[in-house]
Symmetry: none
Subunit: 256 residues, 2 copies
């Protein structure tokens, strides 16, 4: 159908997970994706929530990808047996899954080559023809195939992955993205310097994506903008402002 | 499907409103309805969110009411021009709308017979053959026709209306849900024992819901089934299997 009003691209969201339909978990991903798409000039026209059942995911995915310019899925890409989104996406596109060497490499670097359990290897599976979607938070990346983006269900990881979806959206301006990683600090210390730099650069988007995990805690601060020079200046200003606020363990990182 | 064991009645939720798809409003009705249905032994198997567009509402409504035992809609029954849910439900069922005398009576009692504006009269419109769903909060009632319940979008009003939906549901057995919380372990270690127990109890639903936060990380393992004894056995088996895999920090917790 395209979008009402015409012009912009259209999108649908597919939320995958029994935990949403049982009422155990309050979904917030739909709202976050809706706002993100809006900021990129893409009209979100439908959302569906389906259980962790292969045929249901495949049917919904095929209905939505046929009708809208983009489909964004959340959930079901973890290592457990009920995480079947990759299987469903491969089935919907009629392709096989394979273990992506880049993800296997990341896992070996993190856990050691001898600790890649079958469960962990599940998370390396990507449909043939798919490309990775970067995960700046923690854990393996998402992927994209055709007009479908497959993202994590955990909200802070999902939001981080959206940063790598934006530049791929048709009509969305080409955006430069750089990441400053802060370790050992909660967002409480980060918030003020981040907001100050954000206000000084209203044309840019600055986001904080906290991480907590076995490797420690902290936050990845993602700076996005259309002007590479301005993004560079903002990175310098942010690092200076954070240091001024007493943050010591920080560095610009290549977005994982 | 997503229901443990099957046998119970099935349901879908249809959320109507541009404000959800634009990201302006965070929906909470889906979670509330999901919990309500679960407590009544009805399996919620799908949810859709559609914009305030007549043909979209009609198409989704017809797809869902054909497939599930019950459909619950929220939103679009207010007085403004974009509140078109009643029109869409009437169109889906191929019937006319009429001004329900009971609603007109309530409005006259509240505002006086001379103050029934056209906007207010809109809220008195019910499809021919429909019955009212009581609204114990404020404003006009919802209605039901066929297997469809049409409720308000405002959460506290929606919840109030659900009270009058419950007695009309032919529920199955109530699902028992228990939760084992694992701390300090990623899903990689959990996946294998969880899958083993899930396979031993095909009538049940077992899911892993990881959490990451300032308080640490881990996963809540949720076991759901219709037979309380079987659920109890599965909880014991899972705890034993996890301990056998080296997981130490785990305990059953009260499910929220």
């Amino acid at each position: 159908m395209g979008s009402p009003g015409g012009g912009g691209a259209s999108a649908a969201v597919l939320i995958i997970g029994d935990e949403i339909l049982s009422g155990r978990t309050q979904d917030t991903n739909l709202r976050d994706i809706a706002r993100f798409l809006g900021a990129h000039g893409v009209d979100l026209l439908e959302a569906r929530t389906v259980p962790d059942v292969l045929e249901e995911i495949v049917a919904a995915l095929n209905a939505l990808r046929d009708r809208y310019d983009y489909v964004i899925t959340t959930g079901g890409i973890g290592p457990t047996h009920d995480d079947i989104t990759a299987d469903a996406v491969a089935a919907a596109f009629g392709v096989e899954l394979y273990e992506h060497p880049e993800i296997i490499g990341m896992m070996e670097a993190r856990w050691g080559p001898d600790n890649l359990t079958a469960a962990r290897r599940r998370m390396a599976r990507v449909p043939v023809g798919g490309e990775l979607v970067k995960n700046p938070v923690q854990g393996p990346p998402g992927f994209t195939i055709g007009n479908v983006f497959v993202l994590a269900g955990v909200p802070q990881i999902m939001r981080g992955m959206l940063e790598d979806v934006g530049p791929r959206l048709k009509g969305g301006a080409v955006v430069v993205s750089r990441t400053v990683r802060v370790e050992g600090q909660g967002e409480g210390v980060i918030a003020e310097p981040l907001e100050r730099v954000a206000k000084a650069h209203p044309a840019m988007s600055l986001g904080s994506y906290p991480f907590y995990g076995p490797e420690g805690f902290g936050s990845n601060l993602v700076l996005r903008g259309r002007d590479p020079d301005e993004v560079g200046r903002a990175v310098s200003e942010l690092i200076e402002a954070l240091q001024g606020a007493g943050v010591e363990r920080l560095a610009e990182v290549a977005t994982a």
